[in-house]
């Protein structure tokens, strides 16, 4: 599982950013290579649309390029970057709701069983087992039915493996609220995935 944790980099994120701000474009590329996958995954799980997720993830790095000098070092660089991505994703969801009068998540939750991204990649193996693919799709579909404020935090905690403290910093929310929302989000997910539990563990309705 890919998380935001970076494999023991020899140069810290903050050092790379400093190097970039001093004119070293290569450092920007290095930062992008470190965080493009976790950021894209986070946004995709939050927004639910792969193309929108790419757009938002790219916009996140554009913000880094343009406004990297505003990073004050009060939080970790990764927390700062996630904050940008989360804000952009939230804005995108609101924008879509204004335009179309519905939630973006509802559009992608309408029973489309096809894989959510459609790009050919010989090396990429999203799931090695067929049933694992099925579970992934079901979980993603269920995620999109969870309230966005809960979903955002569940994705950060349970998929991106961020700490409660980091989530509180990213979302600008109290720690207690973070925990509460994550719990509620998990409960909503459980409700959505009830059929999947039964299917996977072979529990009949009568046995419950």
């Amino acid at each position: 599982m890919e998380s935001m944790t970076v494999k023991a980099p020899s140069i810290s994120d903050e050092q790379l950013l400093q190097s970039f701000l001093q004119g070293n474009e290569k450092s920007f590329q290095d930062l992008m290579h470190r965080y493009r996958e976790p950021i894209l995954s986070f946004v995709y799980r939050f927004v639910g649309d792969y193309d929108d997720a790419i757009d938002i993830a790219q916009e996140t790095f554009i913000r880094l390029y343009r406004f990297g000098h505003t990073f004050q070092g009060e939080v970790k660089f990764s927390t700062w970057l996630y904050t940008i991505a989360a804000n952009l994703a939230r804005t995108e969801l609101k924008r879509y709701r204004r335009r179309h009068g519905t939630l973006l998540k509802n559009v992608f939750a309408k029973g489309d069983d096809s894989d959510s991204w459609d790009i050919p990649d010989e090396q990429y193996r999203p799931d090695e087992r067929v049933d694992s693919t099925h579970i992934s799709q079901a979980v993603q579909k269920a995620l999109m039915k969870v309230s966005s404020s809960y979903r955002e935090m569940v994705v950060m905690r349970d998929i991106q493996q961020l700490t409660y403290e980091e989530i509180a910093q990213i979302t600008g929310t109290e720690m207690g609220t973070v925990k509460s929302r994550i719990n509620r989000g998990r409960l909503q997910l459980q409700e959505q995935l009830r059929d999947l539990y039964n299917e996977v563990f072979g529990i009949d309705e009568e046995q419950q």
Binding site: R36, E37, P38, S41, A57, W117, Q161, L193, Y197
Partner: protein, 121 residues
């Protein structure tokens, strides 16, 4: 007397919660498309700079090639037509006769001493 607090029972949905979190943790990462970086670079404005540089380079190369292949410049000098000033040598007027007294004058003889000086001096 202190009484030991009873151990809270395991919640009924404990297994489901564990499975849910396991499934979430195992969700595959969204694949990063090959053109992701290029898209960022293009949108930061460096893409435009690259295009402008390419155009300038192409223009410079084109200009160089054009100059190299252009014909040599030959300076055209206006030469007056000399046919109009043709002179018929058979009808030239006689040249005026003039005396040249220096020719008729006897040359002044100079002695060897005058010419070469005296030995010893």
């Amino acid at each position: 007397m202190n009484s030991i607090l009873p151990i809270p029972p395991v919640p009924e949905d404990f297994n489901q919660q564990v499975m849910l979190r396991a499934w979430l943790a195992e969700l595959p990462a969204a694949p990063v498309p090959d053109n992701f970086d290029a898209g960022v670079v293009k949108r930061t404005g460096h893409g435009n700079l690259w295009v402008i540089n390419s155009i300038l380079l192409a223009v410079a190369i084109g200009l160089g090639v054009w100059l190299a292949m252009a014909p040599k410049v030959v300076a055209v000098v206006h030469v007056p037509d000399v046919r109009g000033s043709y002179v018929d040598l058979t009808r030239l007027p006689p040249a005026p006769h003039t005396e040249q007294p220096a020719i008729n004058r006897r040359p002044v003889r100079k002695s060897a001493r005058q010419l070469f000086g005296r030995a010893g001096y």
